[in-house]
């Protein structure tokens, strides 16, 4: 009977019930969609970082990453690439020589990391070749080609085919110089990265440095990104004298970014929940006050406080039982839609590029979040009805009905 009364009471004032249900639907949807957006945002950032720069795993001389000394070398690097590729967990691998140098044109000079890469295997590991906006990717047949970023090109007034000079020190601190020709201009979504990187063919820079079958870095992608830590162990065992690190170790900012996004999402979540709570307290309080006389009569004829309380809370529970799943379904549909279509942030991406963010966000969420956040919104709604229910039982029947 309580259920029956509560259920019918809901339909007594349709508009008010619709307001409460609307608040719950929107609350559940917003909270889930926000989580999905956040998930997509972080995933996009991590994917970008992996694809453009860090790959899944990198191998260096143990001291190299701390102090980029030119003689922290990996010896026999070609054989090591071949050895890595034999391992089934590894999808692709490439070797690099990295030196800190100066890139100069007639208009000026800039300090850059000169990445000597293998034009054939580099594209299997990173997507630098897809970020070329003018000219072509590196090519073994050309003499001393170089890829510079759009930013560097602008600063140094470079175009495709412009000539530049690279200067750097070899391991005996001798200054070396080589003349290179711009073959292409690249632009990734990470402006900071672009500013300090240039690409040349590994063989060209090796020749200048006198390297033979040597280099500084091995980078690889895995077949199963989830088995990151297992793969790290395998490779550490395979190359015991070198240091194998995951992208999380190499780019701790990925982690930091993830937690920052998470905490801002929590703040928005709390704001939504508070709005929901106040909306529901308000409407349910109105529903209770409107029925003062009726509630007084119910208590006068012997309905005890527990029952009156239950009845009021039941009304919100019922609204929540209808509305929360609707919100979840709505969220599921929109998250799936934008998971395929993506949300275009290019209008804002000038600012975002500074942080290495993708222009498209593909919403994504762990399936368990649907019921977890759905339940959280439902529970919030029910908690919000406790106060109006408490108000209902604090009415004194004599005052509620002026005449018996």
């Amino acid at each position: 009977m309580l259920l029956k009364i509560a259920w019918r009471n809901i339909w007594r004032s349709r508009l008010r019930s619709l307001v409460v249900m609307g608040a719950i639907v929107i609350g559940a949807w917003a909270v889930l969609f926000l989580a999905g957006f956040q998930g997509g945002f972080v995933e996009g950032y991590v994917r970008n970082a992996i694809e453009n720069q860090v790959s899944h795993l990198q191998v260096h001389h143990p001291g190299f990453r701390e102090e980029k000394k030119i003689d922290f070398l990996i010896e026999g690097i070609d054989a090591k690439v071949a050895q890595l590729l034999e391992n089934k967990t590894i999808k692709s691998a490439t070797a690099r020589t990295i030196v800190n140098g100066m890139l100069s044109s007639s208009k000026g000079a800039r300090g850059v990391f000169i990445n000597g890469v293998n034009p054939n295997t580099e594209p299997t590991v990173t997507k630098v070749h897809e970020t070329i906006i003018d000219g072509d990717f590196l090519n073994q047949n050309k003499r001393n080609p170089i890829l510079v970023s759009k930013k560097t090109a602008e600063k140094l007034k470079l175009k495709v085919r412009s000539k530049v000079v690279l200067t750097f020190q070899d391991k005996d601190n001798e200054i070396l110089a080589g003349s290179f020709r711009v073959i292409g201009i690249f632009e990734t979504s990470n402006a900071k990265f672009d500013e300090v990187n240039a690409y040349v063919v590994k063989k060209d820079v090796d020749r200048l440095l006198g390297f033979e079958n040597q280099g500084h870095e091995l980078a690889m992608l895995l077949n199963e990104p989830d088995s990151l830590l297992a793969a790290q162990e395998v490779i550490s065992a395979l190359l015991p004298d070198l240091k194998t690190e995951t992208y999380q170790e190499i780019s701790p900012d990925v982690r930091l970014f993830e937690s920052q996004i998470q905490s801002s999402a929590y703040i928005i979540l709390v704001i939504f929940m508070l709005a929901l709570i106040f909306g529901i307290i308000n409407t349910m309080l109105m529903a209770v006050l409107e029925r003062t006389r009726e509630l007084g009569m119910l208590m006068a004829v012997g309905m005890n406080k527990v029952k009156v309380y239950t009845m009021v809370v039941l009304e919100t529970i019922m609204l929540g039982v209808i509305a929360a799943p609707l919100g979840i379904i709505l969220a599921y549909l929109t998250i799936n839609y934008f998971n395929k279509k993506g949300i275009d942030l290019s209008a804002y991406s000038e600012g975002m590029k500074e942080f290495g963010m993708a222009e498209m966000v593909y919403t994504t969420i762990a399936p368990s979040m649907y019921w977890q956040l759905g339940v959280a919104v439902f529970v919030t709604a029910v908690l919000a009805s406790l106060y109006p229910a408490y108000k209902a039982i604090s009415l004194r029947p004599v005052e509620a009905i002026r005449a018996i």
């Binding site: 005890n304 005449a403 018996i404």
Partner: protein
């Protein structure tokens, strides 16, 4: 058999601000089977007295014994349960739960009393029949006239098998035909089932039907006449 015994009750509203001495020392005894009207000018304390008899309010001083229980000692929740088991109420208005049908409204008190569904079913039907509404079982209050609603309230009050029924101006919102009709039903239930009724009224025609008339003036009982 006395079912209500009250002695020297006093009640003052707003004792700290603008004190209103609503009852100034009232003694009253009511026996089983009586059909009593509480009358008196507006503001004389009728409602206050009925609220105290009904366990909806407590006096400042005095003793209130209802159906053998000293109700002043009861807590709020005990009071609610006491009312549920012992007292039938008919209010002037807002008597019924608007979202329930006439029959469901009558069943409601029995449900609070945890009676089984068979008994609820048969008793709610027979009570509504007793008040002449067997054709309105499934109507909601909004679909009934004021007089019909009051009759449903009487049926509901009786359904809980109370010791007595309290009604504060039950006919105040009714036309004369409905008033006569409601009084007929109450008198009949008093005759046939021996149900005790205590009601307040301003209406001379209602006063004429009472078998005992208690007149209140300024919070004191001025006269108590049995016909």
């Amino acid at each position: 058999m006395k079912i209500i015994e009250i002695q020297n009750i006093k009640k003052t509203y707003n004792p700290d601000t603008v004190p209103v001495r609503a009852l100034r020392g009232v003694d009253l005894e009511i026996s089983k089977g009586e059909f009593t009207a509480i009358v008196g000018p507006s503001g004389s304390g009728k409602t206050t007295l009925l609220n105290i008899i009904g366990g909806l309010d407590k006096p400042d001083t005095g003793t209130v014994n209802i159906n053998g229980t000293d109700v002043i000692k009861l807590s709020d929740n005990e009071m609610i349960n006491f009312r549920r088991e012992n007292i039938g109420f008919v209010f002037q208005s807002y008597n019924l739960i608007p979202v329930l049908t006439a029959k469901e409204n009558v069943e409601f008190v029995m449900l609070l009393q945890n009676r089984d569904s068979k008994e609820r079913e048969s008793r709610s039907k027979s009570m509504l029949e007793a008040v002449g509404l067997s054709d309105k079982l499934d109507k909601r209050p909004a679909e009934l006239s004021g007089g019909q609603q009051q009759r449903v309230a009487v049926a509901r009050a009786l359904a809980g098998t109370p010791a007595f029924v309290l009604a504060d101006e039950p006919t105040a919102n009714l036309d004369s035909e409905s008033t006569a009709n409601l009084l007929d039903i109450m008198a009949q239930l008093n005759d046939e089932e021996g149900m005790t009724f205590i009601f307040s009224t301003h209406d001379q025609r209602v006063i004429d039907r009472a078998r005992r008339v208690v007149t209140l003036v300024d919070g004191n009982i001025e006269s108590d006449v049995r016909k």
